[in-house]
Symmetry: C2
């Protein structure tokens, strides 16, 4: 599936002439590499539920567009002020802050458009997926989590820190699984099991992220390590210390592995992904 952000008719094409520079900025960040965890997770869940994964491709791409938009905005000087990501200068360093803000905004709109115009399964399924994406990325999801993170809400308690992680990173990861559930509508028992698994996986992902930021290899990460601590960010490592954070990651991994093993169906890819998220070095 080609992601061309192309205008849809002649009128739109004429109007939009000259926005190529904005599309360049969107592509720059979207095609900068990255692990593609969210789309892969959506496709693997689709497969586990007995559907050909390619049927969920537009939604999988939308998840990556939303993730990319959030990275561009999080990296802005007014937010986390990061200049390097995935081994390359961040979007605002290359294209300027104004274009970076707009590139993020446009990626979110294109993500929604993609589901509206390419996702199969009928309009009922599309609305369900769009609703899930909007909830996962809004004030009660990813954006709310970033707000809490900037306000250092995690400093208050272990529970508060867990909550920040569940929103900031976990919610969109959970959405990857939930979108597949909306598409495949499995029996309630399977649905619930996969939702609980998804929540745990999202938490695990962010704990490992915190550990890698504190102790990973700069070369593998493609960005400076130790940035969280330097910025005074509250992470599992700054809160619990590295050793305890590692054991909490181990416990979260064990729970996730146990949860997914209990789901009937071809869950091999979901199991492999769980291992990858736990053992990753970048």
């Amino acid at each position: 599936m080609e992601l061309d952000f192309a205008p849809l008719d002649r009128e739109e094409a004429l109007d939009a002439a000259g926005t190529e520079g904005l599309v360049d900025a969107m592509r720059y960040s979207l095609l900068a590499g990255g692990k593609r965890i969210r789309p892969v997770l959506a496709l693997a869940t689709c497969q586990a539920l007995g559907f050909p994964p390619e049927e969920l491709l537009p939604t999988a791409a939308a998840l990556e567009l939303i993730h990319t938009y959030s990275l561009i905005h999080d990296d802005l000087p007014a937010m986390d002020d990061d200049e390097l990501r995935r081994g390359r200068p961040t979007c605002h360093v290359v294209y300027g802050e104004d274009t970076a803000i707009l590139a993020g905004d446009a990626l979110f709109a294109e993500a929604m458009r993609l589901v509206c115009e390419r996702q199969g399964g009928g309009p009922g399924v599309q609305v369900g997926i769009l609703s899930e994406l909007a909830r996962a990325s809004g004030v009660n999801g990813m954006v709310g989590g970033q707000f809490l993170d900037l306000r250092e809400a995690g400093r208050e308690s272990a529970q508060a820190l867990r909550r920040v992680h569940l929103l900031k990173t976990g919610r969109l990861i959970a959405a990857a699984v939930r979108c597949a559930l909306i598409y495949a509508t499995p029996p309630p028992r399977v649905d619930l099991a996969l939702r609980v698994f998804a929540r745990e996986l999202g938490l695990l992902f962010q704990i490992v992220d915190d550990i890698l930021d504190a102790s990973g290899s700069e070369e593998a990460m493609g960005k400076p390590v130790g940035a969280d601590a330097r910025k005074g960010k509250v992470t599992y490592v700054t809160f619990y210390g590295l050793e305890r954070a590692r054991s909490l990651a181990g416990e979260s991994h064990a729970r996730a592995a146990e949860l997914i093993a209990a789901v009937p169906g071809p869950v091999d890819d979901l199991e492999a992904l769980t291992e990858l998220i736990y053992a990753r070095q970048s």
Copy 2:
């Protein structure tokens, strides 16, 4: 209809505790007054097509949420750097740049959620409206227009300037009409006539905006006048001069009035709105 941005279930409510400060910023800008042109236009079009306007209320609200998000982002220091809007300090002045960026992001997500979860007419209509909103606000719409404006693309030619205006402001105004058309599905002839009208109305709105920025009353506008010229922005006034801009507004108004008069049905409110947009002082 209450816009509470509330979490939808107990799990979400627990996770989102602490994001009240972000909701404050969203409300601050959303409830700062403003003319509500886009929602009123959507409702008036719905009525002109023979449907009770309140049936389109969630979409009308979504249009205002998207408009508000675009104002918050456009006002940012990295963009237009405006400190006053509607007589009050802009969102980033009150809540900080980071929160303002996130408030804009979250308003867009909530707009889409609103249509997913509250708009009637069935999922087919919902997907149509969501698609229209995504197209109108994305790279081939509002955000693309803001990019062109920042790059001063309008300096090149009269046609280029018209295009910037059609995207930056016109596209979301057109979407207000188009969403009502998606809801009401009138005969093709009426559909086309209203689309052409909507495009003209969007252009008219922005020409009048340019004129007011150059010659309006600061008290009525609630922000400094002459800001466009000071920032080197390309507007109908800087491009054509005030007198010619006024006559172009007059021509655009005449076209819009003629177009709407030719539409069958109760178009009184649409006619009144056209006059309001032309004659407004703020």
